[in-house]
């Protein structure tokens, strides 16, 4: 299952993140119709109201827009919004965690940057 059903993370957030990934991966283009709340509910065996909450969240963030009676569609700058959001929220949070952990382990700033560089070059070599 794509969703993490351990009960600690709200399902509607997982749904909106899953849809964001689908858009980033190019499975849904601008102005394309996205899954309905009922399709999502069936796909993941969840309550349709929960699926709707995940969709509404993306409408509020201008990643999706509603066409009356037709469903939800991907906005023209959806990809950009998602990428900016991930950079400013997810990546920043991860960096904060890394820096905190490094301090706890007495890893110097230089050493940490070296570790990041190593990972970067490692990936480039693959």
């Amino acid at each position: 299952m794509i969703l993490n059903m351990d009960g600690t993370r709200p399902i509607y957030l997982q749904i909106s993140e899953w849809l964001e990934r689908e858009i980033l991966n190019g499975n849904f283009e601008s102005d394309q119709k996205i899954y309905s709340q009922y399709q999502l509910a069936e796909m993941f065996t969840i309550n349709p109201a929960t699926a709707a909450k995940g969709l509404t969240l993306l409408v509020e963030e201008n990643i999706l827009f509603k066409k009356r009676g037709l469903g939800m569609f991907v906005t023209s700058n959806a990809k950009e919004i998602i990428m900016n959001k991930r950079k400013n929220q997810t990546l920043k949070r991860l960096v904060l965690e890394i820096v905190t952990e490094a301090k706890r382990l007495n890893v110097s700033k230089e050493e940490l940057i070296q570790m990041i560089n190593d990972v970067n070059t490692g990936e480039a070599g693959e």
Partner: protein, 300 residues
């Protein structure tokens, strides 16, 4: 439109109050989980809604009608529990045909397909079925009846894991195709929570919480850290659960009414803040005594 409306509903058996001044409303076409410990009053409540029992005091309306001795109510709802009685002289297939004549919206095609899928034998008799097979048959009746109000009381008793999973999926698929009001009682909130829209948590016949299931997941937070820091941070808050870890650390669960900046301060002070699953919140809230099982083993 509200399907169920209770105001001050009370049911007394001898000296025990099974339901104690219960008030709530359930809206049309929602799936609500009725959650509570053993003896919390879940079955009593469902039986009053179904019109099997009469309330001692208070008011209850189902489809704007009083349910006790009411034909409109009984024609439009079905109550499934593990004490279903079916005529012993009839075979399972005959029972399904009889059911068809009781419920206006009965889908016999669905009933037959489920019957075959779960490998029930047409010539078998209900009383010869195993516990799990009885539950499976009950579930088929409950789903196929397509009643405007469908209530399942511990529907998965005795079912194996595969059948339980199939049941939840069948329930959801049929609900999407034919929306109706569903009440589902279970001890296993973690199993059914994804299906639910709302949860009604009762304790000792009283309503504790009636909220959206997704809000329940964010209702409480767990904090872990040095005992002194945790105590300081949770001062003046209602701690619904706590236990010590190692020599000087503890874990506490509190209602999540902290602001983001308060949480940041807590993290900066070395606290680990984690979400608490809905089933854990329910366990903590419905605990009958303060403290936990560990306290039983403390001898002083």
């Amino acid at each position: 439109m509200s399907i169920i409306e209770c105001r001050g509903l009370t049911k007394v058996y001898g000296k025990t109050k099974a339901l104690n001044n219960l008030s709530f409303t359930i809206e049309e076409n929602k799936i609500t989980g009725l959650i509570g410990r053993n003896g919390a009053g879940k079955t009593t409540l469902l039986k009053i809604i179904a019109g099997f029992l009469r309330e001692t005091s208070g008011e209850i309306e189902i489809f704007s009608e009083k349910p006790f001795n009411n034909l409109i109510v009984s024609a439009n709802l079905i109550y499934i529990n593990d004490q279903m009685k079916f005529p012993t002289a009839l075979t399972l297939k005959e029972v399904l045909h009889v059911c068809a004549s009781f419920y206006e919206k009965w889908d016999h095609d669905l009933a037959s397909r489920l019957f075959d899928y779960f490998s029930l034998q047409p010539t078998q008799h209900y009383n010869d079925l195993s516990k799990g097979m009885k539950s499976t048959f009950n579930m088929i009746v409950g789903l196929s009846a397509r009643c405007a109000l469908t209530m399942f009381d511990e529907p998965t008793t005795g079912m194996d894991a595969a059948v339980r999973k199939d049941f939840y999926r069948a329930l959801l698929k049929d609900y999407i195709a034919y929306p109706r009001t569903i009440l589902l009682s279970s001890h296993h909130l973690d199993e059914i929570e994804d299906l639910l829209e709302d949860i009604l948590l009762i304790k000792e016949g009283k309503e504790l919480l009636h909220i959206q299931i997704e809000d329940l997941k964010e209702w409480a937070i767990g904090v872990q850290g040095l005992t002194t820091t945790v105590k300081e941070w949770t001062n003046n808050r209602e701690v619904i659960h706590s236990n010590g870890i190692g020599l000087d650390r503890m874990y506490a669960v509190i209602k999540n009414d902290f602001s983001e900046s308060e949480k940041q301060q807590g993290k900066a002070a070395g606290l680990a803040i984690t979400p608490v699953s809905s089933s854990d919140v329910c366990v903590y809230l419905t605990r009958k005594t303060k403290g936990g099982i560990d306290d039983v083993f403390i001898k002083d």
